[in-house]
């Protein structure tokens, strides 16, 4: 059984315990770690050393794409493909082209924000090894979990488990692959 494990999971009762434990795990030199909580915890990012995501830059790029697409579309339609004078306005009526381009900027940004977040998070992922621990169902209710992955360089089943047991966890589980 010890062969095929994904990692070792510790369960905590409070957010403070989780953050303290995450700090200790990181200080002990583990890097392939993750924490699970029923709501976002800002302190955990720093405790686990999570770097700021590139997502905002992607969203910005999405917004610029939307803006250019909006203006490009209107330019193509009213200047290149079918120029026609309406209301005495020039073919390139920039002020009138603002609202559609503006809306497309927001639309594209929003799509990148949502689908970029899901993509970077690796979702949808209907299966994940941590789901094998029955108690893990409480991660979406009230409990806090910390996992050290077997893929970590410092990981040693016996030793890591012993170390995890010193963190004040409610319970420590082996997570089968």
């Amino acid at each position: 059984m010890a062969k095929n494990i994904y990692g070792i999971l510790a369960e905590f009762d409070t957010a403070t315990q989780l953050v303290d434990a995450a700090r200790k795990v990181r200080d002990a030199g583990y890097r392939k770690t993750d924490a699970f909580s029923p709501f976002p915890l800002h302190e955990i990012d720093e405790a686990l050393g999570i770097k700021r995501s590139i997502l905002p830059y992607l969203i910005f790029a999405g917004g610029i794409t939307g803006l250019l697409a909006g203006f490009g579309l209107q330019y193509f339609v009213h200047v290149i493909d079918w120029p026609i004078i309406v209301g005495g306005r020039p073919h390139l009526s920039l002020p009138a082209f603002v609202p559609p381009a503006y809306e497309l900027t927001i639309l594209f940004s929003a799509f990148v924000a949502v689908f970029g977040m899901l993509f970077l998070n690796g979702l949808p992922s209907p299966y994940h090894p941590v789901f094998n621990v029955p108690r893990f169902a409480l991660a979406t209710r009230e409990k806090f979990f910390l996992v050290v992955e077997a893929a970590d360089e410092k990981f040693d089943h016996e030793e890591t488990r012993k170390f995890m047991e010193t963190l004040g966890a409610q319970e420590v589980f082996d997570v089968p692959e």
């Binding site: 709501f39 009526s93 927001i106 639309l107 924000a113 977040m117 209710r141």
Partner: protein, 482 residues
């Protein structure tokens, strides 16, 4: 130093009342969907709404079979119930986005327990709104080529200089972004339902909807970025949508429509109408599902205050409209103002509007009315009627007296105008009832963050509390040298 509990309650009232833990919050909200037997009143309410929604189906079929001649629209009142109802519905939707996005950016914690169903209200209201202009085209499936820019066999493109096309872009973007925002907020809650569902079909459906969410710290990190940026995007979006809706009028040259005050005046009116609808929905909801701990009395009072503030902006708009007409010294503008307010045949609708939107809200200045659920509910209903009348006044009184007296006409709605409008109300409530039954009505994960246990102790002091503490000690310290 100890922060005085009473003072803290006064400055920052608790947004969750009663003794709650993460588990009790989760159970209380998710049990409505998963465990409790569907209450009898749900079947009654759903049944009535669903029956009324059939009126919509019937009216649409009748309309498509006979053409829009079945409506009361005529020349010069070519825009009537369809645009009145469109603007009314889309305005109602705006409060949902205001609550979910603008109040999030302003760090107003009280939004947390009402944002979920306010956003649902937005989506359903936009669905009702979008039906009207589409059906006004008579044959919506033929209208696609001048609404959306796609290469078609006729080689025809939409006219991008027209506010009506801006409207298509604004409303479809608004519907899409609102749906994304709502769904992103739901993902962690669907995961909670997945983990708590006993019934395997429920578990399966919620598992699909949750996309395998597991609450990982890395996921939450990106999730929060997305949520905040979506709020940042929705804020200019919601303001632009109703501004563009107002451009449908303001960009034209009809007296009574051609006014620069329209965009802010429409946006304020939208939020005003929307908060009225949020109150209409949440006052019964919190009783039926015993959610008083989460949708507290404080929430209702706050919403009452927002309604008063936006209502006063709207009243300023009414005053300015009349002032602009007079100040323009343009013959047609002056005539329109007089005709709208006292000389014309629709004077009663103007004064009814002032009564509903201008006078009724003045009661909210007084604590007695603001703190009473009965009065808040009643005023909200009156305001909803008033906001509908506002669009009636703007559209019908501006159009029925054209520039040439030879083209003057009266407008009166026909039976099919009414059935379709009432039908959309049924449709709206049908969707609301389904939502209440199958989706957590309050954002569970966000309510968890409101609990005191959600704070991590000993690392970083909570900014809000430290500020409060400093102010308080400053106030109470004895003067030096005494």
């Amino acid at each position: 130093m100890q922060v005085d509990k009473e003072l803290q309650q006064k400055l920052r009232p608790a947004m969750v009342e009663g003794e709650h833990t993460f588990a009790s919050v989760t159970d209380k909200i998710s049990d409505v969907t998963l465990k409790k037997r569907t209450p009898f009143h749900w079947f009654i309410g759903f049944g009535i709404s669903f029956l009324v929604a059939q009126l919509l189906l019937f009216s649409v079929v009748w309309l498509l079979a006979n053409g829009i001649g079945v409506w009361g629209n005529n020349q010069p009142v070519g825009w009537a119930f369809d645009i009145i109802n469109f603007v009314w519905w889309i305005g109602i939707g705006h409060a949902g986005t205001l609550i979910s996005a603008i109040l999030l950016l302003l760090n107003q914690k009280w939004r947390t327990s009402i944002n979920r169903f306010a956003e649902a209200m937005t989506l359903f209201a936009v669905a009702c709104a979008a039906m009207f202009p589409l059906l006004h085209t008579g044959r919506p499936w033929l209208a696609a080529y001048w609404l959306f820019p796609y290469p078609n066999t006729m080689g025809i493109w939409p006219q991008f200089r027209s506010p009506l096309i801006w409207d298509v872009f604004a409303v479809s973007t608004y519907a899409t972004v609102s749906l994304l925002f709502w769904y992103v907020g739901l993902i962690p809650d669907f995961a909670t339902l997945r983990d708590r569902a006993k019934n395997k079909y429920y578990r399966f459906v919620y598992a699909i909807l949750a996309w395998g969410w597991r609450g990982s710290a890395r996921h939450w990190h990106r999730y929060e970025i997305t949520y905040l940026i979506l709020a940042g995007l929705s804020t200019p979006l919601v303001l632009s949508v109703h501004s563009i809706v107002s451009f449908d009028f303001a960009v034209s040259q009809i007296p009574g429509w051609h006014a620069t005050i329209f965009p802010p005046y429409f946006v304020a009116g939208a939020i005003f109408a929307g908060f009225a609808m949020v109150l209409i929905l949440c006052i019964p909801l919190r009783h039926w599902y015993r959610m008083q701990d989460f949708i507290t009395h404080t929430h209702l009072v706050y919403m009452g205050k927002v309604m008063l503030a936006t209502g006063l902006i709207v009243c300023y708009g009414y005053a300015m409209e009349a002032f602009f007409g007079w100040y323009s010294v343009a013959e047609y503008e002056v005539f329109m103002v007089k005709n709208r307010i006292w000389e014309g045949p629709y004077w009663w609708s103007y004064w009814l509007l002032i009564l509903c939107n201008g006078l009724s809200i003045q009661l909210l200045w007084f604590k007695r009315f603001r703190e009473s659920e009965f009065w808040l509910f009643t005023i909200s209903v009156v305001v909803s009627v008033g906001m509908w009348l506002e669009r009636f006044v703007i559209i019908v009184t501006s159009l029925h007296r054209d520039f040439l007296p030879s083209s003057w006409a009266m407008y009166s709605p026909q039976i099919w105008d009414w059935t379709m409008f009432i039908g959309t109300i049924g449709f709206f409530f049908t969707l609301i009832y389904l939502f209440v039954r199958f989706v957590p009505i309050i954002s569970i994960f966000e309510v968890r963050t409101l609990l005191p246990d959600a704070h991590v102790h000993g690392h970083q002091q909570d900014f809000d509390e430290s500020v409060l503490e400093v102010e308080y000690t400053y106030d109470r310290t004895d003067p030096p040298n005494s």
